[in-house]
C-alpha cells in the first residue's frame, strides 16, 4: 500500500513540472496574443484572432494527440526523406508542456487583453505625451497596472491548466493520474477498493497543489491591489 502511494507521489514532480512549464509558455503566448489583438496593425489582429479562435475551439486532448503523434509522423517522414532510418523522437514532457502551454496561451490572451483594456486609456496617453515609445509605455505604465485586473482570471486559468496536465497520461508521461491508474490496476485483488483509494489519493494531491497556489495568488492579488480602494455601499 505505502509503496504504491509513494509511487504516485513521484508523479507529483512530473505534474508540477508540466504545469509550471506550460504556465510559462502560456503566459508568454498570452501576452504576445493580447498585444497582437490590441495592435493597430490589422494583420496582427487577424493572427491573434485566428490563434485564440482555433485553439479554444478544439479540445485539449485532440491537440495533444495531434502534436505528439501527428507531429512525430511528420518528423519521421521528413527524416526518412533525408535518408535517416528513424526521426528524432519527440519527448513526451516537451510535447506536454508545449501543447498545454499553447492551448492555455489562447485563454491567457483573452485574460490579458481584458486586463489591458481595463487600464484607463489616459494612462497610456499620458505616457505618449511625455514622449515615451509605445513599447516603453506598455512596459512601464500599462503592464504594472493590468496585473491587478488579470489576476482573478489568471488564477482561474491556472487551476484549469493544472488539471489539464492529467492529459499527459495519454502520451505516456508518469504523472499523478497515470501512476494512480497503474497502481489501482496493479493492486487489484490485493487491496480491496484499490482503484478508488488511489484515485482519491491523486485527487487529494491535485487539491493540495491548487490550495497552495490559491493561497499564493491571493497574496499576490492583495499586493497588486495596494492603494486601491475597495468599493463600498
Amino acid at each position: 500500500m505505502t509503496t504504491y502511494l509513494l509511487s504516485i507521489l513521484q508523479g507529483l514532480l512530473v505534474t508540477i513540472g508540466v504545469a509550471l512549464g506550460a504556465l510559462v509558455v502560456a503566459a508568454i503566448l498570452g501576452l504576445a496574443g493580447a498585444a497582437a489583438k490590441l495592435s493597430p496593425y490589422k494583420p496582427l489582429n487577424w493572427l491573434g484572432d485566428i490563434y485564440s479562435t482555433v485553439i479554444r475551439g478544439v479540445p485539449d486532448l485532440v491537440w495533444m494527440l495531434l502534436l505528439y503523434f501527428g507531429g512525430q509522423i511528420l518528423v519521421n517522414d521528413i527524416a526518412e526523406a533525408l535518408g535517416f532510418r528513424r526521426g528524432p523522437q519527440i519527448n513526451p514532457f516537451v510535447a506536454g508542456v508545449l501543447t498545454i502551454g499553447f492551448v492555455y496561451g489562447a485563454y491567457m490572451t483573452e485574460t490579458f487583453r481584458g486586463a489591458i483594456m481595463s487600464v484607463p486609456k489616459g494612462q497610456s496617453e499620458a505616457g505618449w505625451a511625455f514622449g515615451m515609445s509605445r513599447f516603453y509605455t506598455f512596459r512601464r505604465m500599462v503592464l504594472p497596472q493590468m496585473v491587478r485586473f488579470a489576476l482573478p482570471s489568471f488564477t482561474n486559468n491556472w487551476l484549469v491548466l493544472l488539471k489539464a496536465t492529467a492529459l499527459v497520461s495519454v502520451i505516456g508521461l508518469a504523472d499523478i493520474t497515470n501512476l494512480a491508474k497503474q497502481a489501482g490496476a496493479a493492486a487489484r485483488g490485493q487491496i480491496p477498493g484499490a482503484a478508488i483509494i488511489f484515485m482519491a489519493f491523486a485527487g487529494v494531491l491535485y487539491l493540495l497543489i491548487s490550495s497552495i497556489s490559491l493561497y499564493l495568488l491571493r497574496k499576490a492579488e492583495q499586493r497588486y491591489s495596494v492603494g486601491v480602494k475597495r468599493g463600498n455601499f
Binding site: 510559462v24 528524432p88 485483488g189
Partner: protein, 287 residues
C-alpha cells in the same frame, strides 16, 4: 525604480510559484539517431538488435507494474521470450490504451504486446501476428443455481455486461434471444458492484478478468462460471481470434519472425510455463 519593480513583479506573477524551478527545455532536443545499417535485411546476429514494445500496464495479470515500478505480467514475459527468440533486446514503452495504435504508426515503438485483441477493425490500421493467447469468456451466476453453459439456461436472468465488449455482442446475440435481460455498463467494476447490491443476477465476462476482479474476492465467493465457459462454437462468431502482437503493416519480416517466435515458445514449453505462472488453472490458448 518603482516601475521596474512592478514590471519584475509581473514577470513574477506570470511564472508565479515558479521560483527556483528549472524551466523545461524549450524545444524538442532529442538528437537524431544515426541511420542504422540494420534497415535492410542483413545476416547480422539479429535483424532487430532492439525491439521497442508498447504496453499499457493496467490489465492485471497480463500487463501491470509491480509496486517497485517494474513491468510484469503474462504479456511482458511473452514479450521477453519473443525478444529472446529474435535475439533482440526488449525495451518496454508505456503507452495509454487510447494512443496505442497511433503510437505504433508514429514509430514510438515497433510492436504492441498488450493483450490487444485481433479484430477486423484494427487490422485496417495495423498488422497482427497470430494469437499468443485467447481466453474464453463465461456467464457468471450463483453456483447454487447449478446452471449449464447453454444460452437457454439463463432465461429470466438479469446479466450485466461491459459496453462495446465482445461479451456484450454475445449476450445481445444469444442470451437476449433466449430470454435473459442484458444491461450494458461503462466499466466491468460497476457490474460487480451491482451484482453485490442485488440488482443483477450475474455477468458475462472474460474468464481471467472475472476471476481476478470478482470470483477470487469475498463478494464473489458464492458465484462461479456456469458450465465452465461459453460453448466453443460461438468463438468465431463473437469472440474473434484472441490477442496478437500488433506491428506496422510494412514490417512483414518482423511479423514473420514474431510468428515463428510464438510457434517456437509454444513448442519448447516456454509458453506453457508462463501461462501456468500468470494464469494458473485456465487454458488461455483457446481453440
Amino acid at each position: 525604480m518603482k516601475y521596474a519593480l512592478f514590471s519584475l513583479g509581473l514577470i513574477g506573477a506570470a511564472s508565479l510559484v515558479a521560483c527556483g524551478k528549472s524551466e523545461p527545455p524549450a524545444a524538442p532536443a532529442a538528437p537524431a539517431e544515426a541511420p542504422a545499417a540494420a534497415a535492410a535485411p542483413a545476416p547480422a546476429p539479429s535483424q532487430w538488435p532492439e525491439l521497442r514494445v508498447a504496453i499499457d500496464p493496467t490489465y492485471k495479470p497480463f500487463t501491470y507494474k509491480t509496486d517497485a515500478g517494474e513491468p510484469a505480467g503474462f504479456d511482458v514475459d511473452i514479450a521477453k521470450a519473443l525478444c529472446d527468440e529474435l535475439k533482440s533486446k526488449c525495451v518496454f514503452v508505456e503507452q495509454a490504451w487510447d494512443g496505442m495504435i497511433p503510437g505504433l504508426q508514429a514509430k514510438k515503438y515497433d510492436a504492441i504486446i498488450s493483450s490487444m485483441s485481433i479484430t477486423e477493425e484494427r487490422k485496417q490500421a495495423v498488422d497482427f501476428t497470430g494469437k499468443y493467447y485467447n481466453t474464453p469468456s463465461c456467464v457468471v451466476v450463483k453456483t447454487a443455481l447449478n446452471l449449464g453453459a447453454e444460452a437457454a439456461a439463463f432465461k429470466g436472468k438479469k446479466l450485466g455486461v461491459l459496453k462495446a465488449s465482445t461479451q456484450e455482442k454475445y449476450a445481445m446475440g444469444e442470451l437476449k434471444a433466449a430470454g435473459a435481460t442484458i444491461v450494458p455498463y461503462d466499466a466491468q467494476d460497476q457490474v460487480y458492484l451491482d451484482i453485490k447490491s442485488g440488482r443483477l443476477d450475474g455477468t458475462v465476462a472474460d474468464v481471467v478478468e472475472v476471476n481476478g476482479g470478482f470470483l477470487s474476492t469475498p463478494d464473489g465467493k458464492d458465484y462461479s462460471c456456469a458450465g465452465g465457459r461459453i460453448p466453443v462454437e460461438f468463438d468465431a462468431k463473437y469472440f474473434g481470434a484472441g490477442a496478437g502482437v500488433a506491428i506496422r503493416k510494412e514490417d512483414t519480416a518482423l511479423r514473420d519472425a514474431l510468428d515463428a517466435g510464438i510457434k517456437a515458445i509454444r513448442d519448447n514449453g516456454k509458453w506453457k510455463e508462463l501461462a501456468d505462472k500468470h494464469v494458473p488453472g485456465v487454458d488461455i490458448w483457446g481453440s
